[in-house]
């Protein structure tokens, strides 16, 4: 939404707040409808020069119509605290929150069970991304901030392991060769093996090294 001027953003935010206030406990996924509306506004203003002004956004919102007019009565019962909570913490956000908690726990008790907690956080983060993808939803900036830390940490750890992991082992190996030759040959064989695995099974590096070494495509590695 950086394409919009601050005034246009405020206008859209008010519109979405209005919409959300009307669909607090219906059969609709408020977050997804909100994403659709945002996408609609972006698509409708795509041909305008950036930053898009409030007048243009106002026109798009007029064509969308007031939320009160296009949300049926079924979607607009009086809000209650329980449903409000449910709306705000939908499945995706809860998963992202669990990832964040597992990451914090992992970092807090790092030398002991921390790595295990971080691996759990990593697996949860991947599951969250898969869930979003299957649902056809983007993660959104907040969820990204919640789930990316374990992904980055595991990717960096894996990268370090790949790059320098075998050095220690090779240093301990005693062959009738100069040490540098043992190291060079060992590393060449190791990197060759890593390259071969990456070539044969490209999904493995994409899985393990995202987002450090993976072409970023929105929320979908």
């Amino acid at each position: 939404m950086d394409r919009l001027t601050p005034r246009a953003r405020a206008l859209l935010r008010d519109y979405l707040d209005d919409m959300r206030s009307l669909m607090t406990a219906g059969d609709l996924d408020a977050e997804e409808v909100e994403e659709d509306i945002r996408d609609h506004v972006l698509a409708a203003t795509a041909e305008y020069q950036e930053p898009v002004d409030a007048d243009v956004v106002a026109q798009v919102l007029r064509e969308l119509g007031p939320p009160s007019r296009w949300l049926s009565r079924d979607d607009s019962p009086a809000p209650d605290p329980a449903s409000e909570g449910k709306r705000r913490f939908d499945g995706l956000r809860m998963m992202a929150g669990a990832v964040f908690v597992a990451t914090v726990v992992g970092l807090a008790v790092f030398p002991w069970v921390g790595p295990l907690a971080l691996l759990v956080a990593w697996a949860l983060a991947r599951a969250t991304m898969a869930h979003a993808r299957e649902a056809g939803r983007s993660l959104g900036p907040l969820n990204q901030w919640l789930i990316y830390p374990p992904l980055v940490l595991v990717a960096l750890a894996a990268l370090a392991l790949i790059l320098v992991g075998p050095i220690r082992i090779l240093m301990a190996v005693s062959l009738p060769l100069p040490r540098w030759a043992t190291l060079a040959a060992g590393l060449a064989a190791w990197y060759g093996m890593v390259a071969l695995v990456g070539r044969l099974f490209p999904s493995i590096p994409r899985l393990v090294l995202f987002p450090v070494f993976s072409p970023r495509s929105g929320d979908r590695p």
Binding site: D27, L28, I37, L42, A43, P67, G136
Partner: protein
């Protein structure tokens, strides 16, 4: 007949055929939301507020009639494309059958041949 009655009748009629129109537009090809709204806007007589489509798509997705997937767009951010599921295809065919039956019956009735 007053204007209020006409407006109400027209609104109800459009509402009734909107689901079928959305499914039919998605049968033509998968579409992202704005594209779908534009396509529906080309239908003569189907005057709707653009926003109406999104809650409907959301419900259809929950009912398994459509599914969505994100796809990169060369023109900007990733777009969410909606497409018919098999269940959506079946639903559309059923709706079309009902629609044709109704239209034929009404045509006969309004001609005074029933």
């Amino acid at each position: 007949m007053n204007d209020s009655f006409r407006d109400n009748w027209t609104t109800q009629l459009r509402k009734g055929v909107l689901e079928m129109s959305v499914l039919a537009a998605l049968r033509e090809e998968r579409r992202y939301g704005y594209d779908l709204v534009q396509r529906l806007g080309q239908l003569p007589g189907l005057v709707i507020r653009d926003g109406t489509v999104y809650p409907l798509l959301n419900r259809m997705k929950k009912d398994g009639l459509v599914r969505s997937e994100l796809e990169e767009s060369p023109e900007g951010p990733a777009r969410k494309y909606y497409q018919l599921t098999n269940a959506g295809q079946d639903a559309l065919e059923w709706m079309q059958g009902e629609w044709l039956t109704l239209v034929e019956g009404l045509t006969e009735l309004t001609r005074g041949e029933g």
